[in-house]
């Protein structure tokens, strides 16, 4: 087990270094030096050269990459010259609200997807099963912002029970938590997108488990169907969900970007969108890099969590 963890960690570190190399290459390709961003486009070539020398942008690519890697190791993700703030500070400022949005959405999607998937498996090939499968397929094929638009149209404009977006006065994480009514639409939109893929996996996992002997035994010994499902089936059928949560990180990040943009919610996704319009490459690549690192960590944790949760899995 320990040997496995060490090997997986080493592999994860190599992948992260590889990702950093790709990110550095893209950054270097798009913007070899931020000199013009700092000194404005009117700067003289001489001034640019001096700035490059002062800030180390005249060194070889390898030297620059090594210092980029060193900076990342110290959690220094660069500097946003457009916003005159370090990228790390920007992350710190915005991360809380994004974690709240994604976390709430993730919990909500599990609360919906797990019972729905099990119910579908138990009543497989019934009209209800087909209806939910079709709905999931449609949700899966829908751009996240379009689902948001549909919900806005129904709940904000037609029924007029929820606000259209998050108001500009919500600037801190606590304010976001204190205004559940404003947060309901963004959270539900993001959650429904996850429900589509989660319940699909949950259904097939529950189908596999339902065919197992222990379920037949539990039924044979006269357990109530409820106990069979909730006590025996649920725990085993949920195992693939652990992996799925680990794998859902990229889609959560992308979802965050579109949902925060649509509902005007100030988080990491909004920070990324602003950076796109500003061509603020340090911020853009730092966020992408952090996303990649989270993906690697998510995969790793999912594998380890499976090993802990499922005694049948032997890692060595």
């Amino acid at each position: 087990m320990i040997g496995y963890i060490v090997r997986r960690l080493l592999a994860a570190v190599t992948i992260v270094i590889g990702v950093a190399l790709v990110m550095f290459a893209i950054l270097h390709y798009l913007e070899p030096s931020p000199a013009y961003a700092v000194l404005t486009t009117k700067a003289s070539p001489y001034a640019v050269k001096v700035w490059d020398q002062q800030h180390g942008y005249d060194r070889s690519e390898i030297a620059q990459f090594l210092s980029y890697l060193g900076n990342i190791a110290h959690l220094n993700f660069g500097y946003s010259y457009k916003l005159d703030q370090s990228v790390a500070a920007l992350f710190k400022e915005n991360a809380g609200r994004s974690v709240y949005l994604s976390g709430a959405a993730l919990v909500l999607s599990l609360i919906i997807a797990i019972p729905v998937g099990i119910a579908q498996a138990v009543k497989r090939n019934s009209p209800g099963d087909y209806a939910v499968t079709t709905l999931n397929f449609a949700l899966y094929s829908m751009p996240s912002f379009f689902l948001g638009l549909i919900l806005i149209q129904i709940f904000a404009l037609d029924l007029n029970v929820l606000p259209v977006g998050v108001s500009g006065s919500v600037t801190t994480t606590w304010q976001a938590i204190a205004h559940p009514k404003q947060m309901l639409l963004p959270i539900v939109t993001l959650a429904l997108l996850n429900v589509a893929s989660f319940s699909r996996y949950m259904r097939s996992s529950a189908l596999d488990e339902l065919a197992q002997d222990y379920i037949r035994l539990a039924r044979a010994k006269g357990l109530a169907e409820r106990a069979v499902l909730w006590r025996h089936l649920l725990r085993n059928a949920c195992l693939p969900i652990i992996t799925l949560i680990g794998l859902s990180i990229p889609s959560l990040l992308a979802g965050n970007l579109l949902i925060e943009w649509l509902f005007n919610y100030p988080g990491l996704g909004m920070m990324f969108f602003t950076a796109l319009s500003n061509e603020d490459y340090d911020v853009l690549l730092a966020y992408t890099l952090v996303g990649a690192i989270l993906t690697v960590i998510g995969n790793l944790l999912a594998d380890l969590a499976i090993a802990v949760a499922d005694p049948r899995v032997r890692l060595d």
Binding site: V19, L30, F137, S141, Q153, L247, P250, L258, L285
Partner: protein, 306 residues
């Protein structure tokens, strides 16, 4: 198709695969939903590409005075017939615009998938045939690129390289060949020990010949369903790019570009600028996903889609 193939004797692969394709086609045609989805796709392709031949609209000159007309409303200036789906804020006929946007959305979907399949197939076949250390290295590169969130990296590059159909297709293709590469490599690993490949090698076929004449033609079927998923994903990603403002530039447009201001449109009650184009977008992506799902069942390739 595996049934027939599994039972076929050694050396009988060529005939077995031919009948396998026929079986796969029959299996596909048995799936009514999948046939329906294919039909819908065909209709939408005809609508987008042949529609403008019969339904002429001016999609290059703005007509702001007649902007924001509701469906069927008489033009305020210049007279003439109303617009079946109204006009947008620039005065473009919305129905004609949906056709134009559909063309670029579908083209980018197909081109991006083609780029990804070509890169992925060659990369996977080379990696699988070479084997050993180099194979390991090539697959680690795939692992690395797979852990970079697709939409984020594509958006970053789209700040400089987007605007034309070619640029966006290449951008998508360059970051989505990873799954096909893995699939083809897996298939090549099993193919390269088969007798017909060993025989070709013994007869002195070069590696290039092995890859392009023996391995790729036999391995390509594992990417078929993935291709349709790639098209669906590319159309979705294009919608995201367009909506965020990094899609095609004037005079081109895509369905995503048309939805960039959708939030404002629905707030102001201009529903005709949102639901028809958005609905069509969802239908197309849904249809491609259904076709892909059915293809997966009919060619019976076991793979998990992330």
């Amino acid at each position: 198709m595996t049934d027939a193939e599994d039972r076929s004797p050694e050396g009988g692969e060529v005939r077995a695969i031919a009948s396998g394709w026929k079986l796969a086609a029959r299996e596909y045609l048995d799936n009514r939903l999948a046939v329906f989805a294919l039909l819908i796709l065909l209709l939408i392709v005809l609508f987008a590409f042949l529609g403008p031949v019969f339904y002429h609209t001016n999609q290059s000159l703005t007509d702001v005075l007649n902007g924001n007309l509701a469906p069927g409303a008489k033009p305020i200036f210049g007279g003439g017939a109303g617009h079946p789906l109204g006009t947008d804020e620039h005065g473009f006929d919305e129905l004609g615009r949906i056709m134009l946007g559909g063309q670029s959305s579908l083209e980018i979907g197909f081109f991006a998938a083609a780029v990804a399949i070509v890169i992925g197939t060659v990369y996977g076949a080379v990696s699988g045939l070479i084997g050993g250390f180099l194979d390991g290295l090539m697959m680690r590169v795939v692992d690395i690129l797979l852990s970079i969130p697709f939409l984020l990296v594509v958006l970053v590059l789209a700040t400089k390289y987007s605007g034309t159909i070619t640029e966006i297709s290449l951008l998508f293709g360059i970051f989505s060949w990873l799954v096909p590469a893995r699939l083809v490599r897996g298939e090549v690993l099993s193919l390269r020990t088969r007798d017909f490949v060993v025989a070709a090698h013994a007869m002195g076929a070069s590696r290039t010949r092995l890859i392009f004449r023996n391995l790729i033609p036999n391995a390509i079927s594992v990417t078929i369903d993935n291709t349709t998923f790639l098209i669906a994903d590319s159309i979705l990603s294009l919608a995201y790019l367009g909506a965020l403002g990094f899609g095609l530039t004037y005079p081109h447009t895509s369905w995503g570009d048309m939805l960039g201001n959708a939030q404002t449109y629905i707030n102001q009650g201009r529903w005709w600028l949102v639901w028809p184009v958005g609905g069509l977008l969802v239908i197309v992506v849904l249809a491609f996903n259904i076709v892909g799902d059915a293809l997966r069942d009919s060619v019976d390739v076991r793979l998990q889609r992330r």
